[in-house]
Symmetry: C2
Subunit: 495 residues, 2 copies
């Protein structure tokens, strides 16, 4: 057997472990009985240790040593390099530290949820502290002592640094804040009819219909409910998404579902030849978010899609009978002083990310006293969005990320927003007519374009390589700001 | 650390793996997307190999070598002995054979389901052949060459042999056949009203109510639907049961649910101090079945329970308003020419086991040409029950056990029936009044008796030891036949 095949055989075992871990996590977040959470943490902790052990074994090391990269084809070279990256990162972390960290983040998520339910930040604080300390230790073990934040950014997006993100933000921050202010100063859109009684059963049916239209494959996936919506890939052919239904607003579950559907379509449509290899995953977290945000916003909140959706809603909701198409389009796209990130509109969404980016980079530099964190959060909310959160759930406790140790993840959403606009601009330049016919229910051509240009490649390319390949340009905020300026000057009188 | 603690630490890791495997299997039988079955088999195959490797590692061997059993207390001695038994059985099986077997039974279950759906025994036949051959190899690896069947019987019930079962059957076979004939020759009970439209939603509510009454703990367990009802313990504090609803008959799902509830209560109530040790499981498969059958039949089909149930059904089903209590009691206990084992009444159930016992012991001795198996099945059905199955689903393809490699499991049901009567007789002798008050909804005292006498011990004792401890007697068919004779001579005119 050739060495690359031997390496892939080892990786397959690692993938099997990963698949079991993914199912344990999916179940933890959907169906696990309430009193068995700590047992589940122990099982996940153990299998994660095994995952680290397998990924950094002497056997893997020896096989990699024997491989001459010069002799590999493009895909095999990529496979080698992805396995090596993972090997290096995990090898540098002492197993005891890794286990400690895995258990800490599992525990912290439990106490975060408790703190959120009880509106008591103090419950979460000590666990947040542990997460920060352990994260810094992990970064240090990998040589990131000065700026541990860079370590985690690199984990989510190979090659991305705090400096790069700061530079990117500086290209559009002022313009975005200015646009937001002008919108808030203009006449507001009436979206009150979206907040009414909308039967959960009908919401489910509508969401399932939209999932089917977007080619979500129920033979290779599932759609369940959970407190916090997520997507998880158990295997390439078993991709599961969740949503949460709000009986007073059908657009929250619908757009949450479309967001997760974007993640799922990406995973489901990676070239089957890459199955059980490290290419069978998203290129990076920012590219992943670009695919969810593209479906949710660029397509999902576009006029052609809203037109299709508008007709459909009348089959499901009595309340929609009297509404006019253009009012519906505007309501869906209303820009609002919304304290909750995941409910935020396209315009203000990145402002939410700026807040988190500034806070988490400071947290990992130990520049924040945790006692002051809720206050600092609220100050930044006020500064960027002119909002004062009413309570912790609307403020510091709204996101699960820091509880899950995911410092450095938030910028992926912002990058995803920028990238999705770049991809969308390219899609429009090639498939303008196909895109317009989304209004008649023809989704396939648009999805096919995504399959052929993005999905199928999986992790064959890194973030910036893929952007270049798809669009011919480098990562920038230009498409995004153009898109916002044009779209929202049609919806709001901001001239 | 003491050696026994070291051994328990190793066993805990094995338990973690087992917990992950259990969840993979639960999911496979409930929620797995249809097109990802073969991936799941691979993941299960890999983790099963890891389970074998861990259970038979040199480290475990070395720790066991250092332990002086004479110095252990009762529980630790038992822990040592159970770990050693498992070690020995798995150590004797070559890892390649074990992996081959694990994959074969996963595949065979898939093709069994297909064969059953398509009513085509030929689809299943080659996989059944593989299962038989591999099972024989596994038995041979453990030194069982002459009679591989004894190997599997011993796996399910330590110390049980084909000869022992034959002897036991000979003590009541003729009497049971005679009783059945006399019942069939007498005036039959009218149970037609049980077969009507019974809303699935109401069935669910009734079943949940009964589960709660039986103290099934939803904080430490789940209740889902699946094609084939089962119980699985993910951990001691996460025990899951399933059922299947039949819209034309509520007693099928109800008694299926009570059966699985019996298994679940056993697992949920093992002394918490034994958690993560090999004592935290049922004493044996026959004891496990005794607990499910006890709840389903001895309690669930008793007059006090039926009285309670009768009143409840009126809250859920319009169709039950006109029915009289005694007619309901008789209908629930109707003895019928029922081709399906899991639907069989208490009287004919063991006859179904005789058929399977005779066939599977012959199958493992290679005394049956697989082409003839369906015919032989039907002949035995005709001989024991005077039934000619209409098709394969009613005949040879009705049970999943052989597809799952579970040769030797069926006798556990029969042993369970006998043991449940022995336990029940003891329960009545101590708690006659408490049992009578089941009719008023007081289930707790009866369940407490089971907790204190059976559940809490887990696998602290082997089958025959536990029977002795609980009843003071040895395993026998006497209680069972007494119970049947008294109960059914009141329902049927068979004097």
């Amino acid at each position: 057997m050739e060495n690359i095949e031997k390496l892939l055989k080892k990786f397959r075992e690692i993938s099997y472990l990963n698949s079991a871990l993914s199912l344990l996590q999916w179940d933890q977040r959907t169906y696990l009985p309430p009193d068995s959470g700590s047992d589940r943490s122990e099982v996940i902790g153990y299998l994660s240790s095994e995952y680290q052990r397998k990924s950094t074994s002497n056997e893997i090391e020896e096989i990699m040593d024997k491989i001459d990269q010069g002799e590999l084809n493009q895909a095999d070279k990529r496979i080698y390099s992805l396995i090596f990256r993972n090997y290096k990162k995990l090898k540098n972390i002492p197993p005891e530290l890794y286990l400690k960290y895995t258990k800490a983040i599992s525990r912290a998520q439990f106490y975060w949820l408790k703190a959120k339910k009880e509106e008591n930040y103090e419950i979460f604080k000590p666990y947040l502290k542990d997460n920060i300390e352990l994260s810094k230790e992990i970064a240090a073990a990998n040589g990131y002592i000065e700026n541990p934040y860079d370590y985690f950014l690199d984990t989510y997006d190979y090659g991305i640094t705090e400096r790069k993100i700061e530079n990117l933000i500086s290209t559009f921050k002022d313009e975005l804040i200015d646009l937001t202010k002008r919108i808030f100063a203009s006449r507001q859109v009436d979206d009150s009819f979206l907040y009414d009684n909308y039967s959960t059963e009908s919401q489910k049916k509508l969401c399932k219909h939209i999932l089917e239209k977007f080619t979500f494959d129920f033979n290779n996936g599932r759609y369940d409910e959970s407190e916090h919506p997520f997507t998880i890939s158990i295997t390439r052919d078993d991709v599961r998404i969740t949503t949460k239904f709000n009986p007073n607003n059908f657009t929250s579950s619908l757009y949450g579902t479309i967001h997760e559907c974007g993640h799922a379509l990406y995973e489901m449509n990676i070239d089957k030849n890459y199955k059980w290899t490290p290419i069978s995953q998203g290129a990076s977290f920012s590219i992943h978010e670009s695919q969810s945000r593209l479906l949710e916003n660029l397509i999902g909140k576009s006029f052609p899609f809203i037109k299709y959706l508008f007709d459909k809603t009348k089959n499901y909701f009595e309340n929609m009978q009297q509404i006019k198409l253009m009012d519906f389009y505007k309501a869906i796209n209303a820009v609002k002083k919304q304290p909750i990130r995941i409910e935020a509109d396209e315009v203000t969404y990145n402002l939410h990310i700026f807040i988190r980016f500034e806070l988490e980079s400071a947290l990992l530099k130990n520049n924040i006293n945790l006692d002051d964190l809720p206050k600092m959060w609220n100050e930044k909310m006020n500064k960027y969005l002119n909002i004062v959160p009413k309570n912790y759930s609307e403020g510091i406790l709204q996101d699960i990320h820091w509880a899950g140790g995911k410092f450095g993840y938030f910028p992926s959403y912002m990058l995803g927003n920028l990238i999705s606009s770049q991809f969308f601009q390219k899609l429009l330049s090639e498939k303008k007519n196909a895109f317009e016919t989304v209004s008649t229910g023809n989704f396939e051509e648009v999805i096919d374009w995504l399959k052929n240009n993005v999905y199928k490649h999986g992790a064959l390319y890194d973030t910036e390589e893929l952007i270049k390949k798809v669009t011919g340009h480098t990562l920038s905020s230009e498409s995004f700001m153009n898109y916002l300026n044009i779209k929202y000057s049609e919806i709001y009188d901001i001239s």
